[in-house]
Symmetry: C2
Subunit: 380 residues, 2 copies
């Protein structure tokens, strides 16, 4: 018998009650029965997004929803600021460039975040900017920017603020309306604890105005069609029916725990993982003050092969954490603490991390990470 | 207690053993464990497609895969022949036009199919055509063209032949290589008996050549990236993991029954449905000689409201068939006989159809459809 514990930044662990929902027979999507599911999902997502804006449901991964944002908001030649502070920010840049936007790639050192002052300065120099693209939780580096402060800057300009909240939604605070986020994209397989397959896009009036003006050719991701369909509680194309039905249950789980209680739980788990890692000499990769609660990226000790560490934890012991991406390959590990996880899952993950680091010759006192995490979990 | 029987042209009934597979905990997609699933799915799909060509796995509905075909094969201004013989042929036309192809929309009367001679004549007049788009099973009207004959025409030209087999794959014959089909698109929620979420695209060498030449901007559906990923048994973006894991089981079910036995079963069920409908005075909508085994479209008697018929069967009795689309709304019903269905499901569907038609005042002898279907099912 071997565990199958996902401490990964998407997909996340699917809890048993949602496994059960995914295993139910499906129904046809052009029926009043299914419309009832769509309605519950849209209403529930609005609560989680903290928005009164439209929400559109796409059948794609999170990257599909990111593409939808770019092709619907920008026409070729439009100016866009895309913040690249890691792998997913880089995706915004690639998407803007692919669709011929006049792209200002704002490069931020990995482990740091863009500041509102930087965005303001870029917008002051480029008042014709149509859209600013940022990432709520940059999972490649483990950071989160001050979206509220950036929103306060962007709202006074002609630009819309677009937030990739694929990994962040329902894990850390995302106040769509209060923070003036015009378009927020997310997916089913992170904070919402389901398999990948559905993605979501919110759109403010300012965003809808750009959507109606964009001349970029689009069809499958044409948000004008999603808006029309949504007004009839429908989708323009066959949706991922199974995931959508289970999403009703997922949203009910969020409501039952309470969104704020969930966010508090993740913050609590994040602190414990960091305390545990620090106790065995694993240094946080990002700047402390901008670390996200979605996951913890820590540096692998110089004498340890990070890829082997991840592989052994997964293949020998069934505990899956993520390795580093690009130039961080083998140099960091990323332990996610989002989705259907509790204190004991975190302790399990740290115990396995200790076990394998110990086997690989890293020097520390066995139990030190567990003790530090346990103290953190039981403080206050 | 009420049935939930789907006699619809997608989604189709998910059999209990695949419900179970969908309800299993998921695993992370960037692991050797998941790669093993990808490999089995690609190998299995190649058998079902009857192809040695590449197969790419997308996370989208079937329409997403259709978009992938258009944006990867055609550059703006390229000439394309798109056959419009119903709702899904129309989608090829819309896609080609959206992405600025020089589009020849070959309109065919609903209920009829394009002929190889028509395609030859169009290609003779337009030797610079880059691609011909057809539909294997046009579910809006219930027809299937002679793909083999069309393939024999197209193979001698510079054009590629693209087939929408979203509804047809694993339900009726689709000999990708033998029929010279350069790109065939399909999905998880028709013949493969799973919920929507995954789509597939096959590509011949001739198609790959166009993919590499296309200048149409694309990102989420960029098949060059899918090819690169596929060569490493990977996907460029997070796939619909849950459906993909269950697809291994679905493919094994196809293998166990035998593809040819499955196709024979659907032909057998189709004959029975048609015999049953004829016995109670419901006339086949399409021309008899081009009717697909995927579903049966029949005309609703003049004195009967077809929309109410569908609604009553579904909402009162739990048996879902499809109504007519566009100008056929209320005038035809479409009974699908694909997916996890057997003789008894077909008899159940016909029994419910008889019951509701009887209630609505249509004159016929109760049991006549059942008797005719039963005789058909038990002949030879």
């Amino acid at each position: 018998m071997k565990r199958n514990l996902l401490l990964t930044p998407g997909p996340t662990q699917v809890p048993p009650q949602l496994c059960e929902a995914l295993g139910r027979p499906i129904i046809h999507h052009r029926t009043p029965q299914f419309q009832n599911n769509i309605k519950q999902v849209v209403d529930g997502l609005k609560e989680i997004y903290q928005t009164k804006n439209d929400i559109y449901i796409l059948t794609s991964s999170g990257s599909g929803a990111m593409e939808a944002a770019v092709v619907n908001l920008l026409s070729p030649g439009d100016k866009a600021i895309a913040v690249d502070s890691g792998k997913f920010g880089e995706r915004w840049v690639e998407l803007c460039q692919t669709y011929k936007a006049d792209t200002i790639a704002h490069k931020v050192q990995w482990g740091k975040v863009p500041t509102a002052a930087e965005i303001k300065s870029l917008l002051d120099k480029n008042p014709d900017t149509k859209a600013v693209f940022i990432t709520l939780a940059e999972t490649s580096t483990g950071v989160t920017p001050d979206v509220k402060a950036i929103g306060d800057v962007v709202k006074n300009t002609k630009a819309v603020l677009v937030v990739d909240a694929v990994s962040g939604l329902a894990v850390q605070e995302m106040k769509t309306d209060e923070w003036h986020c015009d378009m927020v994209v997310s997916g089913s397989h992170k904070g919402l604890m389901l398999p990948p397959g559905l993605a979501f896009v919110s759109a403010s009036a300012k965003a809808i105005d750009l959507i109606n003006k964009s001349t970029t050719p689009r069809y499958y991701f044409d948000l004008r069609e999603y808006k029309k369909a949504m007004e009839k509680t429908d989708t323009p194309f066959t949706p991922a029916i199974g995931v959508l039905i289970a999403l009703v249950d997922s949203i009910n789980m969020v409501k039952k725990e309470g969104l704020n209680n969930m966010l508090t739980r993740y913050a609590h788990l994040a602190r414990a993982v960091r305390a545990g890692c620090a106790a065995i000499g694993l240094e946080l990769f990002p700047d402390q003050n901008c670390a996200t609660n979605v996951l913890t990226a820590v540096k692998v000790p110089a004498n340890i092969d990070g890829e082997k560490l991840v592989k052994t934890m997964r293949d020998t012991y069934g505990i899956t954490v993520a390795g580093g991406q690009d130039h961080l390959k083998g140099k960091v590990i990323r332990i996610a603490h989002m989705g259907a996880l509790d204190e004991y899952d975190i302790l399990t993950g740290l115990a396995c991390l200790e076990k394998v680091l110990h086997q690989m010759g890293h020097k520390f006192e066995l139990g030190a990470a567990l003790t530090a995490a346990q103290k953190s979990l039981n403080s206050k």
